[in-house]
Amino acid sequence: MSPAMLAVHVGMLVLVPPLLLGVIGRVKAWFAGRKGPPLLQPTFDILRLLRKGAVYSKTTTWVFRAGPTVALAATLAAGLLTPLASSSSPLGFAGDVVAFAYLLALARFFTMAAALDTGSSFEGMGASREAAFSALAEPALFSSLVIICVPAGSASFEAAWRALPWASWGSAHPSYLAAAIALFIVLLAENSRIPVDDPNTHLELTMVHEVMVLDHSGPDFAFILYGSAVKLFVLAGLLVHLLLPIPPDGGWQAVLLFLGGQVGIAVVVGIVESSMARLRLQRVPQFLVGASVIAAIGLAAMFYRGLR
């Protein structure tokens, strides 16, 4: 990876994610007939939080303080593994697909541990739900990753995106469609979006992700907000690569196409959030298992092609 591409990659990874939250907010406002906050509002929020002090519960230990830091570091490391506006990434290697998924799991591990560190039943409840939902989303994520990687024959993003056969996307590869749907559901679930979770809910009892971070404040909370934006960005990056022919060797067209794709996904997320109610908690597992089933059907279709 050339220094210029590295700079573009890191620059996008650091700067773009909060903007996507702004786009989602604007879309939701538009649907609600409001003007909505400025696109940069999430960025302003994060910067404001970074300037604040902090309040810690006397129950908490170092785990609570380390949680947001480790989670953000793991998410950023995942962002350095996945290709953005080209087919290569700074840390990519043969097998980076698995490392990507497990880095996101590491982020989750520490977010949940920090929540349990407060000793609050609300945060325990949030951690418990997050654990349940993300465990059920894992097979869908991995099955989609297998579908993406089959043509390349390697568990590497670079090989996968280079080998994706664009000419026959629609007709011969319904598997990709299945993978895209499953990945989109995983993206909604992992980023605590409607219909799995409502980021704007105001009742602690119904929250999933938000309730886990109730006690965080100041720079820690900024890390959490920023980390969840980065997570949305990197997961959406997979979808963009799957759905759009990003030029493998980068260049300004690739950057424009990639950013366009990201904005597109943010708009779709905003539309989903505006047009749906969240599911009842007991329904969420069915929704996630449904994603796994869709991905499994995609896998089966792939092998049906192989058996032919």
Binding site: T61, D117, S128, L141, F142
Partner: protein
């Protein structure tokens, strides 16, 4: 390099004997046992590590004396050397830990039996790994079972410990029956018990042998549904023995399976499919039951079922790939599986030692009675956290490396294979992913409920840090987890020879560039954490940082009992899986205008135990009780039996004579 290993076995037995001789003084027995065991583990571990790194493992030794059946034939090859390394590393750490842990029993009960049987157990495991003769192998196998039985029943005055010991003994003996048949078939009816000459006489018999090995060795390894003894026996044993049993003893089943596979000639892809299925079911069922447990050590024991399942899946994938001639995929899968054997020994040992420290400090294993231990025993808490992150397979620790190799193998198999075998290879990915996701839930829950938050009982409040020997063993285990996670290329040099021996001589080693990719990610991750921690520290410096109570949504009088417990943490996770993890509820609701009493009780069942083995054994008891009519209790009736038998035998012998 066989001689040092045999020397280590002799040293282990000698120190066990010395512990028995010095039994009058607990201190002396524990001291001599620990020193002997640690020295033997250093010698044996060093020898097997050297043999693996230098690649000169293949050596043999035959005694110039042959017992009536079989002979004393020992050998060392890469496979044996790798498992020996696992045994010696985990046993050495467990022995150091035991030196601190058993001290708590001084004056309450003699500790010499525990020390002596510990030495015998390690010696038996090492002996069965170097045995190259069927009879010698089975003798060592039985010695391992008996030694571990006496260790499990160490606290034999407790009813549940005796019951656990009995379950363990019966299950082991049932398993070993399959091994007797297996070895009888492999020796071609006793023609030769030498491993070099053993093998099936036809392809059909090879499949029979595979089935016998899966059941016989699978009972020891803890494959679902043969695992029922495991969550009873492992928690009942003293914690350093639990670490040894879960860490390495169950892996002897994996070794036996691999050794049998290497005797069966070219594998059948179907066998691999069976192993993937058995492993996948073990992994998912194991971790689901683990989530449902309140008892910390029981949770760890069920998680061993999960991890053995992961190893079985990896071996299954290796078998499929080898049967189809994909040596590089097989190499990745088998390397991943073997590495997971070592990794699981390290982090499960660490976790059991952490659980032992908790038990030592609070006297309870019930997670819902603990909490807030991180403040009272910060060192143990940090070590347990390392073990928990490692067992979830998260980077940058060792658990990730093993699972990552298996995933990469499966991803490659997906595109290079076709047909049913490809399905067998690819189905592994979602199963492993689900097990991984559930493992995160299981161990975040365990760590969070036990170590974080506020203490739920006064026992947890009065907890204290573990003694130095126990802390040292945990620290060494944690360091090994970190080292392997950050530098997988190093450990792959140790795993490589063993994997190559199983896959075939022509197999290329794992590409050297790949493990360095993991190293790079691990280092960048650590750097990012440090950088962000630095930024956070700078930002907070000089600002108002206050402490307050946890936000209780406006509720003014929170109590530690309101915290989420292990049971409540696991509940939403188990709900979708209820038929597989039966939860028996009994409830007495409040009645009347002034209700005095209401209770709700939940017991988590085990499908295999409740639906399979319990009815089977009840049926057996019923069938045998029918035979009670024969046992009349009167001597003349028994004399009549003897007479009838004699007459029948005479008639049978004399048939045909004119």
């Amino acid at each position: 390099m066989l001689v040092p290993v045999l020397g280590a076995i002799a040293l282990l037995l000698a120190s066990a004997l010395a512990a028995v001789v010095l039994a009058r003084s607990d201190r002396a027995a524990l001291g001599v046992g620990t020193v002997g065991c640690v020295a033997a583990c250093l010698i044996g571990g060093g020898a097997s590590l050297g043999a693996l790194l230098r690649g000169d493992a293949d050596t043999e030794w035959r005694a110039r004396w042959s017992p009536p059946v079989g002979e004393l034939h020992a050998g060392l090859d890469a496979l044996s050397a790798f498992f020996l390394l696992c045994v010696f590393v985990v046993s050495g750490l467990a022995a150091v830990y035991g030196a601190g842990y058993l001290r708590a029993y001084f004056g309450r009960r003699p500790v010499a039996p525990a020390v002596a049987w510990f030495g015998v157990l390690v010696a038996a495991m090492a002996a069965l790994l170097v045995a190259r003769d069927g009879v010698l192998f089975l003798v060592a196998w039985e010695a391992m079972t008996i030694a571990s039985f006496f260790l499990v029943t160490f606290e034999h005055e407790r009813e549940e410990v005796r019951a656990a010991g009995m379950t363990y003994l019966v299950a082991s003996q049932l398993g070993v029956v399959f091994l007797f048949v297996l070895f009888a078939v492999l020796s071609r009816g006793g023609a030769s018990w030498d491993f070099d000459a053993m093998g099936p006489s036809s392809r059909a018999l090879a499949s029979v042998c595979f089935g016998l090995a899966v059941v016989g060795f699978g009972t020891k390894a803890g494959f679902w549904p043969l695992h029922v003894w495991l969550p009873e026996a492992h928690p009942a044993a003293p914690s350093h023995v639990s670490a040894l049993m879960s860490g390495v003893m169950i892996k002897m089943g994996i070794y036996g399976l691999l050794r049998t596979l290497s005797m069966l000639g070219g594998p059948d892809a179907t066998w691999g499919g069976i192993l993937v299925a058995v492993g996948g079911v073990s992994a998912i069922a194991g971790v689901l039951h683990a989530v449902a447990q309140r008892d910390l050590k029981r949770r760890l024991a069920f998680s061993s079922v999960e991890n053995v399942g992961i190893v079985a899946m990896a071996i299954g994938l290796g078998v499929i790939a080898k049967a189809h001639g994909h040596a590089s995929v097989a190499m990745l899968a088998v390397s991943g599986g073997l590495l997971h054997v070592l990794n699981h020994g390290l982090f499960k040992g660490l976790l059991f030692q952490g659980a032992g420290a908790v038990l030592h400090a609070t006297g309870t294993r019930d997670m819902d009675a603990l909490g807030g231990l991180s403040r009272r025993m910060p060192f143990t808490a940090a070590m347990f956290l390392v073990g928990a992150v490692a067992i979830c397979g998260l980077p940058p620790l060792n658990g990730f490396v093993g699972e990552w190799l298996v995933y990469v193998a499966s991803f490659r198999a997906a595109s290079s294979m076709t047909g049913a075998s490809a399905v067998g290879a690819v189905i592994l990915v979602p199963m492993l992913a689900l097990a991984g996701g559930l493992a995160v839930a299981c161990f975040v829950g365990a760590y969070g409920v036990v170590f974080l938050g506020e203490p739920r009982t006064s026992a947890a409040e009065r907890a204290h840090e573990a003694p130095a020997a126990m802390r040292a063993a945990m620290a060494l285990g944690a360091l090994a987890c970190i080292a392997i996670g950050i530098w997988p290329a190093g450990v792959l040099r140790v795993v490589g020879p063993a994997a190559r021996q199983l896959v075939g001589a022509d197999a290329a080693s794992v590409e050297t560039a790949m493990p360095y990719g993991v190293t790079r990610v691990a280092l960048v991750l650590v750097l990012l954490v440090l950088a962000l921690a630095f930024v956070r520290g700078r930002l907070l410096r000089g600002r108002a940082v206050r402490t307050a109570t946890t936000w209780g949504c406006g509720y003014a009088a929170p109590s530690p009992r309101m915290q989420y417990t292990a049971s409540s943490f696991g509940a939403p996770l188990l709900e979708p899986f209820v038929p597989a993890v039966p939860i028996h509820e009994t409830q007495t609701g409040p009645t009347g205008l002034f209700p005095l009493d209401a209770r709700h009780e939940e017991r988590v069942g085990d499908l295999a135990g409740d639906r399979l083995f319990l009815p089977a054994f009840r049926g057996l008891v019923r069938a045998f009780s029918r035979a009670h009519v024969l046992q009349a209790g009167r001597v003349h009736v028994y004399l009549a039996y003897v007479l009838v038998t004699l007459v029948v035998l005479l008639a049978w012998q004399l048939r045909g004579t004119p």
